[in-house]
Symmetry: C2
Subunit: 256 residues, 2 copies
């Protein structure tokens, strides 16, 4: 049975795309059929997998607005078990065009209904906002994975995000679970990082992944080569952390 | 004459808020009357200056939707020459409510017209998107300051941002200038950082500030105390860099 996971946090720059690309690649390396959906007009997941986003057609925008078969938007990647639905700047139009459409929050859910059956994991990379695109992801998803930078402003936004998830559960998707909170860009030399981790683990307990993603320059270099970290430098601490995360996600899934 | 500067970049986590708070504080330290406008529903500039954003009333949302005098939304801060117009989560409503309003892109410009005259600098902290709130800031502003993290995904978004600025100049604000591109979170130990800086300086030449903001943990610790870096640790490399930036902004202004 497919598991659809939205990777969301309205705070910018916390590692949503880095998590989407590298968790997807790590699940594919574990031979789980995986689909990565880029739902951010910035198209960073698309270029992070080496796809020239300016010229790509069709992409997620055309899927959301109707008129193409979902299968037409699928791209294969350099990893056998990983496919991508790309995005580019045209997606900005969807936020405005969908506002007046019928069941505007459930468009993505409808689009993914058929094709998701061909995969074991579907990951959705969200933009840094709680607008209509992110809401579509939260309605389509079985659970949400929250990347959280070990920094003050990121911590501040977490309460706001949790309230938004409650609202989505109440009105649009009662089954929306929490895949987990993922601590990212952890730098062991910085006190603040340790304080944030201690706070979060005390408050959210087992909702926080055991795996913590370290700050690792390889993770920020890999996208400029259009590769996930495990294809760019598999021995790096960043690539290893995301392989560990994939094992943890698979193990949690089997526990049910 | 007042100078209104929008601090904008749709890429998340590049240092917009850190720049808005610390540049505003540094201009105030140089005894320039300064107003910081928080235009991000996350309200990070508001809490970065020590204001409890959940309970603040009125704030920028009430100003944009009409019904209060602009002066009513002003808050003084711990710095004599710095005032703030705060924001909180309610601002998310403005994006939707303004969509059908008359001259929706020019609301902020109209709100600031009178009060801006009491200041020499008005800085506007923008959310990580190119939606209606950021467009309002670009229409109200004389120029835009672009914080740019020395990383690949941030570099990728710059071309998109420049095109968006062209569109705003063509249709809404022909006088929108570029205050400058500010390189942020520079870590001299990382090759990628140096490569991005070299690329940007070669391409944009004197549109790039001489001042480069280093990665400095003091800048990420200060917001948890509700203080700009110059009040938290004035000897830190982060605080010093923003004081240099303020001098550069003032000098550029005098050159005209
Ligand atoms: N663990 C890490 N170590 C070092 N750099 C990282 C790490 N995770 C992410 N980065 C870098 O930090 C920046 C922000 O990460 P990323 O773009 O993945 O965040 P995001 O939440 O997707 O941002 P946005 O809000 O713009 O969508 C990127 O340049 C990325 O390469
Ligand atoms: N020069 C720096 N050195 C170290 N940390 C920094 C620096 N600049 C910003 N930070 C930290 O990096 C994170 C992102 O910065 P900030 O929140 O200012 O970016 P932003 O562009 O305003 O984000 P958003 O897109 O969510 O509005 C914050 O936790 C901040 O404290
Ligand atoms: Mg992203
Ligand atoms: Mg910000």
């Amino acid at each position: 049975l497919e598991r659809i996971i939205a990777i969301a946090n309205q705070k910018g720059g916390v590692g949503k795309t880095t998590t989407a690309v590298n968790l997807a690649a790590s699940l594919a390396a574990a031979e789980r059929r995986t689909l990565l959906v880029d739902l951010d007009p910035q198209g960073n997941s698309t270029s992070g997998l080496g796809v020239a986003k300016e010229r790509v057609y069709p992409h997620i925008y055309h899927l959301l607005l109707g008129g193409i078969e979902p299968k037409e938007a699928l791209l294969s990647t350099s990893l056998p078990y990983l496919d991508l639905i790309p995005a580019n700047l045209e997606l900005i139009g969807a936020e405005v065009e969908l506002v007046s459409a019928a069941s505007r929050e459930a468009r993505l859910k409808a689009c993914l209904a058929e094709i998701a059956k061909d995969y074991q994991y579907v990951l959705i990379d969200c933009p840094p906002s709680l607008g209509l695109l992110t809401i579509n992801a939260l309605v389509a998803a079985h659970s949400v994975l929250i990347p959280l930078q070990c920094e003050y402003y990121a911590l501040e936004g977490l309460a706001q995000l949790m309230r938004a998830l409650q609202r989505v559960r109440r009105t649009l998707n009662p089954d929306l679970g929490l895949e987990g909170i993922l601590l990212t860009m952890h730098d062991p030399r910085i006190n603040l990082s340790h304080q944030v981790i201690a706070d979060i683990r005390a408050h959210f307990r087992d909702q926080v992944f055991q795996t913590v993603i370290p700050r690792n320059v390889r993770l920020s270099e890999a996208p400029s080569f259009g590769k996930p970290a495990l294809l760019y430098d598999i021995k790096s601490t960043g690539a290893e952390a995301y392989l560990r995360l994939a094992r943890e996600v698979i193990a949690n899934d089997q526990k049910g």
